[in-house]
Amino acid sequence: MRRKRPYQSEESKQRTVSILPPEGVPLRFVIAPVSSRFSALAFDLLLITISMYLMVFVLIAIFVAGGLFKSGGGYALSFWLIGIFLIRQCYFFFFEMIWQGSTPGKKLLGLRVIARDGRPLGLQGLIARNLMRDIEVFIPLGLFSQAFQMGNESAWLSWMAMGWCLIALTFPFFHPQSMRIGDIVGGTFVIVIPKAELEVDKARQTTLARKVQISFTPEQLAVYGEYELETLAQLLRKVDEDKADADDLRIIARTIADKIRYEGHEPLSTPLVFLQIFYAAQRKALEQKLIWGQRKANKHQRS
């Protein structure tokens, strides 16, 4: 059983899914959390509502301008009926089709739909996942009123359907990969669009560090492992963001110097430079071993 690494905590909170592209290098994607999916949905629903109202106004404007209301009011009504149906059923499908798996709401929150098997997102999958949206979103909204309104032989059917819709609505909260039913049926995931940012490497010394001559023996570099290396890297990143305390740096530098039995004044006089150079040297040593297939996970592991 491996120890849980503190510097992974930010990552391990996210749920990921790995997909194997044809190039054979597995890629990890972060699954969109339920909260941001609901926000995206809310935004999309808002847009749908707005567009429905817009449609009503446009229809009224057209028919009033054309003086058609007396003769063709029925046509306006039928346009409205069909229009609502189309907007409701096709909004998500349409945008996910032309915007690489994102609706306006998803784009706002940086989400997108991908196929579970790693293939291109097909039309069928999109149709399936968005048909299921009907029972997950739209029907529950309409069912309450229907169940009371009809009050006749179909009411029991409405109640039954509503119970089912409740299951469907709460489904993503219980699913380990927070899929909704439409995702299962359509064979899709909703993921967070990855963002690539390359930061400055901590192992490239600053000019100050280059002037200082510090060297370590192989024995000194054989004490720590990858876990300690990454912890140190995090500390150095903190220094860049001006979040580190000078006293802390000194204490850490001294602890390291004690542990590896380094005898010199640098840990006390210039702790930051010492830490930077130690980090570079330690990483070089560990990477050298890695090439020989030897991993040293942490300081407790004997190499």
């Binding site: 044809p22 039928s78 009926l81 149906f85 032989e153 570079a280």
Partner: protein
């Protein structure tokens, strides 16, 4: 390990991964730039040069990622490469804008899927027929049953207590309604039917029980009417009134029910597959069938709304119904032709470029 190779390294020691990064960073940056443009617009917005560079750079980045995972101890570097490769992967393999050819392929794929789901369709027909039979026999014995099956709005005066003449009139009402009233009727019919059909599909998830109920219920309504009109000797005219729009409409109802059964079966009897996988397979197939059904509903509603009242001759009505059947058959024929074409193409290519590796989605989550 030979420690003498690089002992106490000269003071500003640079790890291998720093060198590794220095050599490749330029090409990563180039890929980053191209991928960003694809994300903001689309693949087709790239010029020829970038389009050519993209797959090369992508493979290079994938290579870098795989090397970095094995040899570099710079977490930020690996994280960057993972994000970059994921982005490029999505840009290259993610989604495609559908072309007209894809839509056509979808259109002809529907009848194929319907044929593959013939067992479910048979089950749907069974439930529908059972509904008809039950309603018919019960109404035949006691007309009171009619009210149980048919709601007053739907009956619209067509009850066992109406006179034969008034019943006959409903069949040949030559349409005093104006065009716009008919259009409302048609669009209402379409949206209502399509929604019920969609419900049968999406609730089919519930072991197919709602689909069965829907089919049985629709069968009951039809059976009630059939029995009523048959008791007055109006069965043939009623069928003539019903079938021209009923052929596509009833077929669409059956399709939706069949799609629901498809889903229900996947959940109940997934076979050797995981339930999620079985559901996905069924969902992809059923969604095609339902799409076909929606178009049939739209077609039937148009027909019912506009043309039904224009044709009042019994013989003509049956001819139109026959024509509808022929149209459906033609659709199936198109599907079959496409299937044969696909098969021929497959044989010709010998080795279809298959997806080489499948990721296991169950392994992904942590």
């Amino acid at each position: 390990m030979d420690t003498n190779q690089s002992p106490t390294s000269s003071a500003p020691s640079t790890p291998r991964s720093v060198q590794f990064r220095k050599e490749r960073e330029a090409s990563w940056r180039e890929l980053e730039d191209i991928v960003e443009r694809v994300q903001n617009k689309s693949l087709s917005s790239l010029d020829d040069r970038d389009l050519q560079r993209l797959p090369l750079l992508y493979r290079e980045a994938m290579n870098s990622l795989s090397v970095a995972r094995a040899t570099a101890l710079d977490r930020l570097l690996i994280r960057y490469l993972e994000a970059l490769c994921s982005q490029s992967y999505l840009a290259i393999y993610g989604a495609r804008r559908p072309s007209r050819r894809m839509l056509w392929a979808l259109f002809v794929a529907v009848p194929l899927e319907i044929r593959k789901a013939s067992r479910e369709l048979l089950l749907a027909i069974l439930f529908f027929a059972a509904g008809i039979a039950v309603a018919w026999s019960l109404v035949d014995r006691d007309p009171q049953w009619f009210h149980v099956f048919v709601s007053p709005q739907m009956a619209a005066g067509r009850t066992p207590w109406a006179t034969t003449e008034s019943l006959q009139n409903t069949l040949y009402d030559s349409g005093q309604k104006k065009g716009d009233a008919l259009s409302v009727f048609a669009s209402f019919l379409f949206t209502n039917n399509a929604r019920v059909g969609l419900l049968a599909f999406s609730l089919g998830f519930l072991l197919g029980i709602p689909a069965a109920i829907l089919l049985f219920y629709n069968g009951l309504v039809l059976g009630g009417f059939l029995s009523l009109f048959a008791s007055r000797g109006l069965l043939i005219p009623f069928l003539g009134w019903l079938l021209p729009h009923g052929v596509p409409e009833i077929f669409a109802v059956l399709l939706c029910g069949g799609a629901g059964f498809l889903m229900g079966r996947a959940l109940l009897l997934p076979g050797s597959l995981l339930r999620t996988e079985a559901l996905r397979n069924a969902g992809l197939r059923a969604s095609l069938i339902v799409t076909g059904a929606i178009f049939l509903f739209a077609y039937a509603a148009l027909f019912e709304g506009f043309f039904r009242q224009l044709i009042v001759d019994d013989v003509l009505r049956f001819l139109v119904a026959l024509l509808q059947c022929l149209l459906l058959l033609w659709w199936f024929y198109l599907g079959q032709k496409q299937e044969q074409k696909d098969l021929a193409a497959e044989n010709f290519e010998q080795e279809t470029p298959a997806w080489p590796l499948q990721a296991d989605p169950q392994r992904g989550g942590r």
